[in-house]
């Protein structure tokens, strides 16, 4: 019984659903005590509503007979030739855009200017003057160690009071 409780506890706390499912399935299928604590088919039937306990088919047919005649056996129209041509045209245009963009990117990357080694080293980075809102700004330049990335932070210079 303690083992059953442990399994239930593990089921409640295990985060991964496949593990939880496997655990409960493996245990339930083998444990006669837990199987005895499962609802029987007869008990379930006494709680649920069965098809033989409802009488709604006649009323349902009265409600849908009109609409059923309209919707039944109406095959969905196949896409016309025009729609098909447009689909192919759109796909071809998309392929052309991708090809041209790819070609342009490859060409640009291949140029010497895009070679990272050709880019000026960060220590030679230089800013002469930074303006924010028409006034000289406080400017900070920061380069993380071991990278060629340079961050520039510029903010409005605070006005002195008085």
């Amino acid at each position: 019984m303690d083992f059953c409780k442990t399994v239930e506890l593990a089921y409640a706390v295990l985060p991964l659903r496949p593990f939880r499912d496997w655990l409960i399935r493996a245990h339930m299928e083998r444990c006669p005590r837990c199987q005895a604590r499962l609802l029987s088919r007869e008990e379930a039937k006494s709680l649920l509503v069965g098809p033989d306990q409802v009488d709604g088919a006649e009323a349902l047919w009265r409600r849908i007979s009109g609409e059923a005649g309209r919707v039944a056996a109406v095959p969905e129209p196949a896409p016309g030739r025009g729609a098909l041509v447009w689909r192919w045209a759109a796909a071809a245009a998309m392929a052309a855009v991708v090809a041209v963009t790819g070609f342009w990117l490859l060409r640009e990357i291949g140029r010497p200017g895009f070679d990272p080694r050709a880019v000026a080293p960060a220590e030679r980075f230089q800013i002469d003057y930074v303006n924010v809102g028409g006034a000289p700004a406080q400017t900070f330049v920061y380069q993380p160690q071991g990278t060629d990335t340079v961050f520039i932070w510029a903010s409005r210079t605070p006005q002195k009071e008085g």
Binding site: I24, L38, L39, E43, L47, P51, V54, I64, A72, A73
Partner: protein, 190 residues
């Protein structure tokens, strides 16, 4: 001819008739499966009005998409799959509406509150039991109890693996049994 085989032949004849647009076949289909779909929807939703709406939507979808039905599969399972998905959609809509109602601070004015408009019909699953189970567990329990569905059949309806369906069924049977054992007055109180 055996009863099962006759039913199968009837079913195929009804499907064929529906595909031809025969009103008599449409009616025969509703009369053959209407109560089954209604009972499943009632057990999942717990409300007669909603269950009737789902029933109506399910059959109209079946008539509209019957040409897509794969004859290799069980027709009843296909039909119940549609009813189940429609029921889930309705539960989601109602949940969203309730959440919206709570946020907007007004009471929901639609379905779910009304009693049983058909006094001759049985009440669905008592509300405490209904709340204890998820929609998947309720569906699994209902199909197992009344239709004799196996975990594999249930998994076809719920669109999950057979082992997952088995877990839904275990959980449903375990939870309800525990509730019944802990609260003997549950059924009377509903």
């Amino acid at each position: 001819m055996e009863e099962g085989t006759k039913l199968l032949v009837d079913e195929q004849a009804i499907i064929e008739g529906c595909l031809q647009g025969s009103s008599a076949s449409n009616r025969a289909m509703v009369e053959s499966y209407g109560n089954l779909v209604l009972s499943v929807a009632l057990n999942v939703l717990g409300n007669r009005q909603d269950a009737e709406d789902i029933c109506q939507e399910t059959f109209l979808q079946v008539f509209r998409r019957l040409d897509r039905y794969d004859r290799e599969r069980s027709f009843k399972t296909w039909l119940l799959t549609i009813a189940y998905r429609r029921s889930l959609d309705m539960l989601r809509k109602k949940r969203r509406f309730t959440e919206f109602s709570v946020k907007a601070r007004f009471e929901p004015a639609v379905a779910g509150q009304g009693g049983n408009p058909h006094p001759a019909d049985p009440e669905p699953l008592p509300s405490k039991l209904l709340e204890a189970l998820t929609a998947r567990e309720r569906t699994a329990l209902c199909l197992w109890a009344y239709e004799g569905y196996t975990a594999k059949d249930i998994s076809d309806v719920l669109a999950c693996s057979a082992s997952t369906a088995r877990v839904y069924l275990f959980n449903a049977r375990r939870k309800i049994k525990a509730l019944l054992e802990n609260d003997h007055g549950l059924l009377q109180n509903g």
